[in-house]
Amino acid sequence: MTAAARRVWGLMYRHLALYRSSWPRLLELAYWPILQMCIWGFTASFLASRMGSGTGALAAAALLGGVLLWEVTLRSQMGMSISFLEEIWSRNLGHIFVSPLRPSEMIVALIGMSIIRMLLGVVPAILLAWAFYAFNLFALGPVLVLFFANLMIFGWAVALSVVSLVLRHGAGAEPLAWGVLFGLAPFSAVFYPVSVLPMAVRWIAWLLPTSHVFEGMRGVLMHQEVLWAHLAAAFALNIVWLCGAVALFNWQFRQARISGALVSMGE
């Protein structure tokens, strides 16, 4: 293993060891996605029974698909943000940032933890949807991998922005780790098409990779058609969002080294 890979693994091992010794943390990862799936699963069942088997089944599938894929974004974002916050809460940043670990390696390790946390949270909810509500997310086909990739990348971009704000503003910015993505949900067209949004705010929706993914998901569910233009737009937007987030992180990391925020945060 190269030195860089060992440093990345070192930081990931720190978090994996934490989960191994704390079953409430593990349980919490799956708790919210399962809860969401229960609530929306029953709601979808109710709607399907009222709307008839054709339209109702499609509406239920769009609803449950939206819930599950939104959890991918949310858990990816929170997985990265909270892994970083764990270092602040354990007053360990002072050791991390004086080790040879590069900031870019820290980001890679946080992405690794984000993927693990997302899978531990979302896979049980996917299985629940299949077992209880007869909704098979994998029926979307191989394009699901591209949906997942786009949603995760956007989650990381948002998480890096949150981490940047925590670096700059300290503990005061921590609540953003839980709440920031919910603010983007109405524009992400998770449960409805972008065309439902008022004309004045549709441009916001089209700037978010998530809205393109959810449009794509509905295309597959309702018309069995992969909307490649939406997927391409999602990837292109993700490149812009992720590059912007990395630039913001690098800038705020440097500012924190100038202002002394790393010293006060690390102790």
């Binding site: 060992r6 070192g10 091992y13 720190r14 934490l18 010794s21 360990n92 004086v98 590069r102 790393l262």
Partner: protein, 246 residues
């Protein structure tokens, strides 16, 4: 050969000048003490040496590497210990050692952990969570973390603060032995004058961000005509006596 070279190091926070153009060098194998009251600039200086803080002006070279442009090459060969920075308290001591062993790319990590465990008497606590340890045990674990990569430069910020005299003495003895055996260079910030007198061959007295005096402990005692360094510290901190050759 100077392992640490500091030239005109300055740190300003708005109107506050925390470190005011200090210069010093530390030779290989030397232990240098940074002394000064609260707010004198010790922690700020150490944070700049570690790359946690970017200086407003000045230059730092450690082990031949410019910390402004190549700090990671130096950081891999250094380490740091402070009672004010914790290790993840839910992880066991062994897990913490593994984390830092990987971060510092230590070869033969299990063997190194076993060595440190034997030398610092960590065997009984190796599989206990770091958060459940006593202050003395935590200090020994922090020292083990600081030595995991066999550092050539060790920066210590009050390493024996809040320790009982017995544990403090054990830590000092261990540091002396490590330096003798490895030729490690140590920069030590401390408020414990007896510790500084015992460990340090050279002392930098800081006040308001400036080096106001320096020399060996014996030279400082002679210059201020005092019996112990604590009196010298108070003379400087309170401006109550000038060095006789000043």
């Amino acid at each position: 050969m100077s392992v640490i070279q500091v030239e005109q190091l300055t740190k300003r926070y708005g109107d506050v000048l925390a470190v005011d153009g200090i210069d010093f060098t530390v030779a290989q194998g030397q232990t240098v003490g940074l002394l000064g009251g609260n707010g004198a600039g010790k922690t700020t200086t150490i944070a700049m040496l570690l790359g946690l803080l970017i200086p407003t002006a000045g230059r730092i070279r450690i082990l031949g590497h410019d910390m402004a442009t190549n700090r990671f090459a130096a950081l891999a060969r250094m380490n740091f210990s402070s009672p004010y920075v914790s290790l993840p308290h839910r992880l066991t001591v062994r897990q913490n050692m593994r984390v830092y062993g990987n971060l510092y790319n230590v070869r033969g990590l299990d063997r190194r952990i076993a060595e440190l465990s034997a030398e610092l008497d960590l065997g009984a606590i190796l599989d206990r969570p770091a958060g459940q340890l006593s202050a003395g045990q935590k200090t020994r674990v922090a020292l083990a973390k600081a030595l995991i990569n066999r550092p050539e430069v060790l920066l210590l910020d009050e390493p024996t603060a809040s320790l009982d005299p017995d544990t403090g003495d054990l830590v000092r003895s261990w540091l002396e032995r490590y330096r003798t055996e490895t030729g490690c260079t140590i920069l030590l910030a401390s408020h414990n004058m007896a510790e500084v007198a015992r460990l340090c061959s050279h002392v930098l007295m800081l006040k308001k961000g400036r080096v106001v005096d320096s020399g060996s402990p014996e030279a400082l005692l002679a210059r201020y005509e005092r019996e112990d360094l604590e009196e010298v510290f108070l003379d400087i901190a309170r401006d109550r006596r000038q060095a006789v050759d000043a």
